[in-house]
Amino acid sequence: MNSSSITLEICVIALGMVLMLADFFVAPDRKRYLAYAGIVALAGLLLVSFSGDGVCSIFGASFSGSFVEDPMALFFKRLFIGSAILVLFLAAEFSDRFASGLNEYYSLVVFALAGMLFAASANDFVMLFVSIELITITFYVLTSFQKNRLASLEAAVKYLILGALASAFMVFGIALIWGTSGELNFNGLAQVSGQFVNNKLFLAGCLFVLVGLGFKIAAFPFQVWAPDVYQGAPTPTTAFLAIGSKAAGFVLLLRVLFVAIPAVTHHWVHLLMALSAITILYGNLCAMPQRNLKRMLGYSSIAHAGYLLLGVAALNSSGQAAVMYYLAGYLFTVTAAFFVIALVLRHVPDENVSGLAGLNHRSPLLATTMTISMVSLAGIPPLAGFFGKFLLLKAIIEQGPAHHGYYLLAFIALVGVIISISYYFNVIRAIYWTRDPADLSPITVSGPARFSIAICVAGIFWLGLFPESVLNFAMSAASAIK
């Protein structure tokens, strides 16, 4: 029972090692095809996770309670595998811009995925810390992978320093929690945390853990790294940061706040509301004047962390389900945007919004994809982003009668949405309305890229038009942590 419960994780780690060892056997000019091997393997795992033959569908705790398999873990694991598949597609397209070590990049993506899978199931603080470190440390490398590009190195150094700081906070927080309560397991903590609601040291510990997780999800005031790292990192890394790393932060946040320390969480409702509101406003306001597309998406990802925090601050299961649904929609939306960035801005050094000028003449497919992605990020029907925001707002307003502050929060969220429309539409305007675009050479899109873009677009529409199945899954996942 024990080792069989981590079959999925073991397979992923083995895949990472195989990809790394393949270095010895694959000719250098064929290394980019290793990504497709990885994709096929991961797609197989994803299918297995759906097959219900026992790999992922036996729910329960193992490893003396530190590893838990439940619908929420399953939901996030599928999300992570899906995002890794898309990121590998993206990396294969991007591979000509890596000087060397292509297969290392692929295997690091897979290792980060393993960390995320562990994070999805983490049920005590040791497991939480180990999985977070596994993710973060691989991301240091992934960020610096364009070794001859200064911005990439700069981003990696910033991420390293701030990431190390956040990790230090988190370890300190875990130590304080353990020192005061003597518990590291989430379920164990749940039983005793009520007694420590007034214990200053315990609260400080919880707060420090929150700092560490806030760094992962790029919530205010731990967001400073996000724009620089998003801008500097290679595009596939940025995409993986935006969805995989953020989702890992959220699954841990949900588990810590609602499984381990629910009593403290209910005391902190104002803190969570304030964090969410400020993150939304900060991200959106800062995104407005940005010219660099990836930097803009960095700020927009801060804003989206704020929207997701709405669902956390709602303190109800419909809020938690909304968080998961929103992340699923965000996966397809943001990956589609990064695909376009990687393909269009191939020969443009500064990755500015203006580089998209005339895209509808150069490649109608990419222009349409970018438009759909921006419209979905802005939260306009009938796309995934709208339904996700709708669920989040609904969860917030549901709590309104209990606490009127929620109405203010909902209003701030709306203000954020309105601000965001301006900069998302700015991108669309750059695509269609720029007079006399400088470059009108057609862009060829390879077959695999077409395929993965089609997956993203189909996902955006699917989650916007037929939300039933994913929503039910998210709701059952949310009920698992109650």
Binding site: I380, K394, L414, I418, E468
Partner: protein, 522 residues
């Protein structure tokens, strides 16, 4: 009743064809033009058929016809539920006719035609679907689907120097309005405790246990101002004249004629039955804001130098009459409001189509640069004259019937006598002043020499949309019973539910409202 409703076809065909057009290469002009016109035509014919068979159609227990109800997200209580009653049957007919006329008028678009037709069809289908929808979620969702193409069309195909500013303003205003309304709708859904987005079911649940007055008063401003911004309620109207002044004619026709009615329809469909006490509470406020529309925008219209801005302002002013009708909260006033909504849809579409035609011929809409056009463009000139007459509320046009009905309805509320006087003055005097002034300057007087070459010899084909819209105005003006017979029973139902609950002590504190949420049918 789960066979596919005719309403699904009316709204679905344009959307489906829009998606099909994506596959057509953009140099096949004739094909996508013909296909778009055909789609709009089929949709219109179906709408006319639906209107004619309205009385024979089967009525379901909630009073709706042509119903289709398919669950969509069961856990949230969202379903695809469409149906018509007297309130929206006229709007759907009007919307389909205007959509067809707008598609025909799109011949003025010369660049990126494929994208334009796709957006236009999406807009038509979205708004027809929103009017047919009996589910809160789809009601909002389809409206938003129609709204977004508007922004893009104004931004890409708009004209004039202020295009970017106008696009920015209209996007901002309407997005804010739609989002505020969304907050109100979600609050309504949650406060009812019914766990359904289905409008008839919501009405039933709330009839059984009405919302406390303070909850109603809390939700109502969201709906009033959210929908109000969408309808250019004074003082949130400034996007409208400018946006319409810049928009390409088909977009202006469809938005001012059809899409803008969505907010008013929402107030009638939702606020009157669900928040009756709040409606009474806010009655005076709505009436005064409506006067703001009528007097202020009438005044502004008098001073306009651009024909489109004048029409835009007068269209904003007309919204005031509809608000006034809603504020009266009685059978006559509400029926009148619905009548004006239909009539104004035709009128606004006709006016913008004509101004678009004039712009096409002359290249300007500055009133001072125009003149004597009646001699060169007799057909269009005559139609513009008739549109102006209809705008002043002359008998024979559908607007007259609606406005008179509204005035009768509002007069029966003693508190509003003064307001009726003001509105009459504004409607008749101010309207006549700016309309006759525009007619004199545009159609009569000396013809500027640069327009000596233009010719009004348009083919019969081109005249169809104008003739169709004018004919509809005249038809409903001369035989209003076509509409009123359908409207009255349902308006009576709405007002009855609003009146009975005007009295009744249901003041419950906000904190005590929570128990109301759990029991469904106690």
């Amino acid at each position: 009743m789960n066979n596919i409703s005719i309403l699904t076809y009316i709204a679905g065909i344009p959307i489906f064809v829009a998606l099909l057009l994506l596959l057509v290469p953009s140099n096949y002009r004739v094909i996508f033009r013909a296909v778009s016109v055909l789609a709009a035509f089929v949709s219109m014919i179906l709408a006319v058929g639906m209107f004619c068979h309205f009385n024979q159609a089967q009525v379901d227990s909630e009073g709706f016809r042509f119903v289709q109800d398919v669950p969509w997200v069961g856990s949230l209580g969202i379903s695809y539920h469409v149906g018509v009653d007297g309130i929206n049957v006229g709007l759907i007919l009007m919307g389909a006719i205007v959509a067809f006329a707008a598609t025909l008028c799109s011949w003025e678009i010369k660049n990126r035609e494929k994208e334009f037709y796709i957006l236009l069809l999406l807009m038509s289908g979205g708004i027809l679907g929103a009017f047919a929808s009996l589910d809160l979620f789809f009601f909002y969702f389809l409206h938003e689907l129609a709204l977004v193409p508007t922004f893009i069309m104004i931004g890409v195909w708009g004209r004039g120097e202020r295009k970017n500013y106008a696009t920015f303003q209209i996007t901002l205003y309407l997005s804010i309005g739609a989002l505020i309304a969304l907050l109100g709708l979600i609050a309504l859904y949650l406060q009812s405790g019914a766990n359904t987005f289905d409008i008839p079911k919501l009405i039933d649940v709330i009839k059984a246990n009405p919302l406390p007055v303070n909850v109603q008063n809390f939700i109502f401003p969201f709906l009033l101002f959210g929908f109000g911004i969408l309808v250019s309620l004074w003082p949130f109207h400034s996007w409208a004249p400018l946006g319409y002044g810049v928009a390409p004619a088909p977009t202006a026709m469809l938005h001012s004629g059809v899409l803008k009615k969505f907010g008013l329809y929402g107030l009638i469909r939702l606020a009157v039955p669900l928040l009756p006490q709040a409606m009474h509470h806010w009655m005076m406020a709505i009436a005064w804001l409506a006067i703001g529309n009528i007097l202020y925008n009438g005044w502004v219209a008098m001073r306009q130098r651009d024909l489109n801005l004048l029409i835009g302002n007068s269209s904003v002013a007309h919204m005031g009459f509809i608000f006034l009708g809603i504020a009266s909260l009685n059978l006559i006033g509400l029926s009148g409001a619905v009548l004006i909504m239909v009539a104004h849809g035709f009128l606004a579409a006709l006016s913008f189509a004509l101004s678009g035609f004039i712009y096409q011929k002359t290249g300007t809409l500055e009133i001072s640069e125009l003149g004597g056009l009646c001699r060169k463009l007799p057909f269009v000139g005559t139609l513009l004259l008739m549109a102006a007459m209809a705008g002043c509320g002359l008998p024979g046009f559908a607007n007259f019937v609606g406005e008179v009905t509204v005035f009768f309805g509002v007069w029966s509320v003693p508190a509003l006598h003064f307001i009726v006087t003001l509105a009459l003055w504004g409607g008749l005097i101010i309207g006549a002043v700016y309309m006759t002034r525009a007619i004199r300057n545009v159609l009569h007087g000396p013809l500027p020499s640069e327009f000596a070459q233009i010719s009004g010899s348009t083919s019969l084909w081109r005249k169809i949309p104008y003739a169709l819209l004018l004919a509809s105005l005249l038809l409903f003006g001369c035989v209003p019973s076509l509409l009123t017979d359908k409207i009255n029973p349902d308006a009576a139902r709405l007002t009855a539910s609003a009146q009975t609950r005007k009295t009744g002590p249901t003041l419950v504190a906000m904190a005590q409202a929570a128990p109301l949420k759990s029991p469904l049918g106690n």
